[in-house]
């Protein structure tokens, strides 16, 4: 009888530790992805291409889409948008909220993340203030143990506050 109890306990403990490992793994991966998204925010706000160079996979055919336009490859994104846009703005803030991360594949080596965005800035030339809300899609692949952005797509429109429900 004792043998059966010990076998059962071993089985339960094994399953629990596997599940715990999976959770740990998943939390670690989720943190890695949200850290990358935070570094992208920093990169846009500070006109710093480094977080993009570190976290985006540069490959032939890479496409990074921004509100209807696309950047072919990482260099185009950094040199034509990230770096010059900061210089053209008096101030610039970009916020990602309601971030959802989904892991896919047998080895969970692919992830996609979606988020709401809010972009506020002031154009130096015209003093015009921009306030846009929108959505962001990021696609990631885990390569040699590191998550890399393989595609991004953002779209935004002039921010319109939600009308309060009136009774």
């Amino acid at each position: 009888m004792n043998k059966y109890i010990i076998a059962l306990l071993t089985l339960v403990i094994s399953f629990t530790s596997i599940a715990h490992d999976d959770n740990d793994h998943s939390n670690k991966d989720k943190k890695a992805i949200t850290d990358i998204i935070a570094s992208i925010k920093y990169g846009w706000e500070n006109g710093d291409g480094m977080p993009f160079k570190q976290n985006f996979l540069d490959f032939k055919g890479a496409r990074y889409i921004e509100s209807g336009g696309q950047n072919k490859g990482l260099d185009s994104l950094v040199t034509h948008h990230v770096e010059p846009e900061k210089g053209a703005m008096g101030y610039m803030t970009l916020d990602f909220s309601d971030i959802e991360v989904h892991f896919e594949g047998e080895k969970k080596s692919f992830a996609w993340a979606i988020a709401n965005t809010r972009f506020k800035a002031k154009l130096k030339k015209s003093d015009r203030e921009l306030d846009k809300s929108g959505y962001q899609t990021f696609l990631f692949r885990k390569i040699d143990g590191e998550w890399k952005v393989v595609h991004s797509h953002s779209s935004g429109h002039d921010y319109k506050p939600k009308k309060e429900h009136q009774h």
């Binding site: 055919g61 496409r63 889409i65 509100s67 209807g68 696309q70 959802e100 989904h102 896919e104 594949g105 047998e106 080596s109 692919f110 996609w112 979606i114 809300s133 929108g134 959505y135 899609t137 696609l139 692949r141 393989v150 595609h151 797509h153 953002s154 779209s155 935004g156 429109h157």
Partner: protein
């Protein structure tokens, strides 16, 4: 009395000129998207993308709904729809009316497979008359597809232009 033959000739002439133009316009807007060779459109998930667009163009709501995961998230025109039913009962209908009137040329398309997951990225140009205006717009599309229970479904769409 001479007015009748002149009117007939004028009508015949106008009919000859207008008919081919109208026919050509209808013909263009009824054309389906042609996908580029080697883009991955011929793969299983690629076929889901092409068939989904075909169903939207033809106004086949049930078929278009079939290709979507129940919990699909769709970003379109600054709005979000968080289920296939929500999209099917709202924005899908206006997308069908829009797609039926326009010809959409695929400028770039790439489907990338990673096991039971795939993503499709495309750039298109849509032209034609819609609600009295001439449309000539470039559009971007990102789709995430997942294979569950042996069937590929679209789990996420991001459209922008």
């Amino acid at each position: 009395m001479k007015i009748i033959p002149i009117t007939l000739v004028a009508f015949s002439f106008l009919a000859c000129v207008i008919s081919p133009v109208t026919f050509a316009h209808n013909n263009a807007s009824s054309k389906h998207r042609t996908y580029l060779k080697g883009s991955g459109a011929e793969t299983e998930p690629g076929k889901i993308v092409t068939q989904f667009h075909k169903a939207i163009k033809l106004g086949n709501k049930n078929k278009a709904r079939y290709f979507l995961d129940d919990n699909v998230t769709i970003f379109e025109g600054g709005k979000v729809e968080r289920s296939a039913d929500e999209y099917a009962n709202h924005h899908m209908l206006s997308d069908m009316k829009y797609a039926a009137k326009l010809y959409t040329e695929v400028l770039e398309h790439k489907v990338t497979l990673a096991g039971d997951m795939a993503y499709s990225v495309s750039r298109t140009r849509s032209t034609g008359q819609f609600k009295g205006s001439y449309i000539n717009k470039e559009g971007m599309e990102t789709m995430v597809l997942l294979k569950e229970g042996g069937k590929w479904k679209i789990s996420h769409i991001h459209w922008s232009h």
